[in-house]
């Protein structure tokens, strides 16, 4: 009995913390407190070089801390409570289910690099085949829960929503197209194995009590923060100089219209670091006059970054990797154009 009350109290404390974090976010919404840094180029330009990043960082963290705290906490909770055994059970059952799971689950499972490449390999080997595996791989970085939350809070929820839909369609297209190509089929055949779990091997997941799961979720949130924040801060320092010194007329000339979309989608990939910096950098360039279409292309350009491509090429052949990068790039250009036209901001 005493053990039980102790656990209940611990679970209660952690839940209270989570509720406070969510409450803070809602409160900041109600009082219309901006989550994005307020520094304008005019404020930053006259400062000495060494002071620019400091002022910008203080500005960023005085506004963005709630948002980061919320994003990490929610990502940790979702990762902990998403039913992983269900995914692994159904992933191999049929193609349609495979695609649906790849699209639906990728955003929640891939906040950690630990999961992405193994799941790609597992899906490819165990059943659903190369189509859903590619869909999963493309969907994962394009709209994982951390980037979506940050995009929504810092740029706008409209852009975040469009980003999810556009990357889902692109990922689905990439999966279906690649699974039809001869080289895609060849890889599938090479790796396909019958998923016949032997009688002695079983999966029986043990569920720890609620307080331990909640604590594990927070610990995972802390782990994510520790992984991402150092790079994020370095990225913010770079962003502060961009904000201060990138002239508006250059952004206005090169990052609007059709050229803007092409350039944004081309630099989005190689420049990508999986550290949420792209969101802040996108926001900075948007402030300087980048069009909405180019912004979307920029944000969607990441899945074909180098690190990702290298990891995949170890399993799949380079032809598949090339296909995958081309489709991702085509998707980012197409949706950039479409969104630019529809939202009247090309």
């Amino acid at each position: 009995m005493e053990e039980k009350t102790k656990r209940a109290i611990r679970a209660g404390i952690i839940l209270a913390f989570v509720i406070v974090v969510i409450g803070l976010l809602i409160y900041s919404r109600i009082v219309a407190f901006s989550m994005a840094p307020q520094s304008k180029p005019v404020d930053l330009r006259p400062l000495p070089y060494w002071l620019i990043p400091i002022v910008y960082l203080i500005d960023y963290f005085s506004h963005g801390t709630i948002c980061l705290l919320f994003a990490f906490t929610v990502a940790g909770l979702i990762y902990e409570f998403v039913p992983k055994e269900a995914i692994t059970r159904y992933m191999g059952s049929s193609r349609a289910v495979g695609y649906a799971l790849a699209l639906g689950m990728a955003p929640f499972l891939t906040v950690c690099s630990c999961t992405m490449v193994p799941l790609f390999g597992g899906v490819l080997y165990a059943g659903a085949g190369i189509g859903p595996a590619i869909t999963f791989l493309l969907m994962a970085p394009a709209s994982n829960i951390l980037t979506i939350l940050l995009t929504g809070e810092m740029i706008s929820w409209e852009v975040a929503g469009v980003r999810i839909i556009a990357s889902a369609i692109t990922a689905l297209a990439a999966g279906i197209i690649i699974s039809r190509t001869p080289w895609g089929k060849a890889i599938e055949k090479e790796h396909q194995i019958a998923n016949t779990a032997s009688a002695s091997a079983r999966v029986e997941i043990v569920r720890p009590p609620l307080d331990e799961r909640l604590w594990a979720a927070l610990k995972f949130a802390g782990y994510l923060a520790k992984q991402i924040l150092p790079f994020f801060i370095l990225g913010l320092i770079a962003v502060s100089y961009v904000e201060a010194f990138l002239p508006e007329d250059i952004v206005g000339t090169y990052l609007t219209g059709i050229t803007g979309i092409l350039i944004a989608s081309a630099i989005g990939g190689p420049l990508y670091t999986p550290t949420l910096v792209e969101v802040v950098l996108g926001k900075a360039m948007w402030d300087l006059g980048m069009s909405k279409g180019a912004l979307l292309s920029w944000l969607m350009g990441q899945p074909y970054d180098m690190a990702n491509a290298l990891a995949v090429s170890r399993i799949a052949k380079w032809k598949v990797v090339l296909n995958y990068m081309l489709i991702a790039w085509a998707g980012s250009v197409t949706f950039g154009l479409l969104y630019g036209i529809l939202s009247n901001s090309l």
Binding site: P118, Y125, G127
Partner: protein
Amino acid sequence: MREVKVEVIGPEPPCMRCQAARRAVEKAAEKLKQAGITVNIEKTNIMSKENVQKYGVLVSPAIAINNTVKIMGRVPNPDEVEKLIMEASK
């Protein structure tokens, strides 16, 4: 002397969280040695055909005790692993 086989399943090269999972298993194993249980720890590759064939798709880090996956996608604490191994050794 009772023996228990524990597989720590993760990607190759091992990621941070899989290393943490392995450390938890090692700690538990040390304690169990005194109780007369030998724990054979194996690090296996989550992407190997053998593993996928045996257990299906997994989320790393995963821990299998005597060929049964008990933990998937999280880092357990040593006490919990100890309890699970104790149960399996009975």
